[in-house]
Amino acid sequence: MTLRSTARRRAAIATGLSLVVALSGCGFSDDSGGGKPGTVTMEYTNVSSLDPQRVSWGMWLDASALFEGLVVPNKKGDGVEPGVAQKWEPSADKRTYTFHLRDSKWSDGKPVTAQDFAWSYQRLLTPSNSQAGTTQGAASYLPGLGLKGATEFLAGTLTDWSQVGVKAKDDRTLVLTLATPNSDFLLGLTHPSMLPLPKHLLEAEPQEWQKAENWVGNGPFTLKSWTVNSSMTLVPNKQYWDKGNVKLSQVDLNLTEDPKQAGVHFTSKDADIVTLPQPDVRRFQQDDTLAKQLVSVPDSYSNYLAVLHSQNPALEDVRVREALALAMDREKVVKTCVDCRPSYSLVPEKSLPGARKAAGLEEDVKRAKQLLADAGFPGGAGLPQVRILASQPNAALEAIVDNWQRNLGISAAVDVVETGVYVERREQLQAPDYIGFYAGAFAAQPTWRAWTATQWDPTAMQVFSVSGADWPGYLAAKGGGTGLAYAKQHASPEITQFTEQVTEAGGEPDSAAAEKLFQQAARTRQDTYLVIPTTYVDQYYVVRSGIGGVDMRLGYLLPFTFKGVTSELGTN
């Protein structure tokens, strides 16, 4: 009796205690706008950092709400409008730009100065500041921008900051100097890595500056609260110079790890703007009410296959690569996904008309078979199994290998591996029985220059063109920090030509002539078939009726800014 009641008493105490513990530890954060007029709830991919100089989802959020750069993209996304810089003038040789900053303030009242910009760019380019992605993504846009001395300073070969083309002449004048003229320069300045950071805050709180209680920014919104891995709340920045044009009273972001649930969250009214995952698109299109709220951004992503380096030289023969590119049967492949379209050119046709003719390919199974035979693999005989290395299962890739097998008689398979394995395998020299490509995707760029000089640019293409025999040398050089130089030296002749064409195009001051030269370079690149286009993906969003001002534009992962957005939700 005693034992039982003691045990029961203990059980009761334990239960009570655990209930208390459970409920007290919960840490609820109740700051949802809950549909009040002028609020918007958006489902957003989880963000781990709000540092715009670090390649992560957070940098796009910085660009669309929390910070403002010298210039901002216009509505269509093909030009710029004044941001912090009120006006600017280029020099006669188009190499130097002088920006005159307006009288604007950080959210804590301190003025935004040219020194803030200069300090931020120095932080971006300082090699020892490198966080994962700082110099391997965000700052790699700078060579595309062409700031004088930027690449050298980043590589560590130039250590004197005063030699770099970034100068704050006084509090409100910033002078940026380019190595060569760049017609895309102003558009490039809208990239998140070129946003200013509050020098005084980052120096005071180098680790804690991203916390909501410390937050200082100069964008139309500031960070009110951030529950990591769960939600974020933004409120209008009272110090913003154009606050009259900020029409929302609050923005709630639901941070999600599983973007596939977005459709459900929209229909249950837990979010008002979501990125719609591909499986739900058809369902939404078939419903009248939902279809009205559907918005698509064409050519948001380009899917491609990039060649892997192997001990087996089979894929080093351009004929084999071309054969595979021509026998893919892309029309069949896109039947597996409702939001994708065939891609015949690395530069998308829809956003840059004429691209397919200028620098694309034409499918031709007969020719592909001939090429394969010419290369020494008639009917596929003797060719090892062609693999596609991917980090996630993908129906389109399965369709591609299927079509290869059917059209060319070869053996092909998709190799799905875990992310870390994928990352490591991509760089390795593959075994003698393993040849193939890795599957990747890249977000759209707005101009010819961007598609040629920034994405699959000469540096990247040089690395791709290094032969299997030279690859171990490249890896060794990379470990010692001279990988890119090695690649340049060992690049194929076609890619060397591509490099020269891009350099020539980059230095051409007349933008029409420059575009022609870029197209020529893109054609050279396409004909190497080192990178093969597969499909384009249109990104679909759903925007609830009652929300206006969401101007979707091409070229960014979050293609609209919150500044012009209006909301009538919650009025009923």
Binding site: P279, R282, K332, K335, T336, E398, D415, V417, E418, G420
Partner: protein, 290 residues
């Protein structure tokens, strides 16, 4: 020696008795029949499935129930769902049985000595399983899968190794609880040695919970595989596995429910069938003539 003979007779009739009891448990019996059917279907998959599991048909992608000759429709590549379900049974059983066998072997090897001998030995072994318990199974599975591959065997082995700690603890617990019982004292008094006591006296009496755990282990392994597939570590495509089909199907759940519903029903039936068999086994071994 006479005692040994009596023991043998007793043991035999114990099993007979158990079977007789099992037979009266209707649900368990029906489930056992179902399990046998499922295993047969898995073995006979190439004969029974109307299409090959990797046969694609781009003209009929995401067909619904009964469309174009596909009873349960097709998936995103136009592959027949019914055929993939049948083959996926095979994958499921491969994974589950491999994992249970691997787990049982490890658990017996560690749990029996630990429970029976106790003392220092027990401590060391239990510390070892504590470590296994706390393991980041994800990392461990990646390494194993990288080394051995993502075939059904490899995934089954990985699951078995990652989860044997629970069974070990159970076996050890049973050993501890049972070794203090009177019949063990009696056995010792009759002069039986350690191994005999462990194997012939204690283990048969521990069989109930072990069998129940194994019967549960089968569906647990299948569920674990589906979790691994969500993380990208399941059996590699195009081999159909329930994990892969469910994780694909749940994304298209509202648009194309035929991808998820039949598979989930089959999945659930298998899990239930094995669970009820385990139930029946448990009841059957419970009442012994003692």
């Amino acid at each position: 020696m006479a005692e040994a003979a009596v023991e043998a007779v007793r043991a035999e009739s114990q099993w007979r008795l158990a079977w007789r009891r099992f037979r009266t448990h209707q649900l368990a019996l029906a489930s056992l029949v179902l399990c046998v059917i499922l295993v047969l279907v898995a073995i006979l998959a190439p004969v029974l499935a109307p299409y090959h599991y990797a046969a694609t048909d781009y003209e009929h992608v995401l067909a619904g129930y009964g469309e174009s000759g596909h009873l349960f429709g097709t998936d995103q590549l136009g592959r027949d769902v019914l055929s993939r379900m049948i083959y996926s049974l095979r994958t499921a059983f491969l994974v589950a049985f491999t994992s249970q066998v691997a787990g049982l072997v490890l658990a017996l090897a560690i749990g029996v000595p630990a429970g029976y001998l106790g003392g220092r030995f027990d401590q060391i072994l239990m510390a070892g399983t504590d470590v296994m318990f706390a393991f980041p199974a994800y990392l461990f599975t990646i390494i194993l899968v990288t080394v051995v591959g993502s075939s059904s065997w490899a995934v089954g082995l990985a699951i078995g190794v990652a989860t044997f700690a629970v069974l070990t603890r159970l076996i050890r617990g049973q050993l501890i609880a049972l070794k203090v019982r009177d019949f063990v004292e009696a056995g010792r008094a009759m002069g039986a040695g350690g191994v005999t006591i462990a194997c012939r006296y204690i283990l048969p009496n521990a069989l109930g919970p072990i069998l129940v755990t194994l019967a549960f282990g089968v569906p647990a392994a299948i569920i674990t595989e589906s979790g691994l597939a969500l993380l990208g570590l399941g059996v590699a495509p195009p081999t159909p596995s329930w994990g892969g089909m469910i994780s694909e199907g749940k994304d298209l759940m509202l648009a194309s429910p035929h991808l998820l519903v039949p598979t989930t029903v089959l999945f659930g039936l298998t899990v239930l069938a094995f669970s009820w068999v385990g139930d029946g086994l448990r009841d059957a071994f419970d009442v012994s003539a003692r």
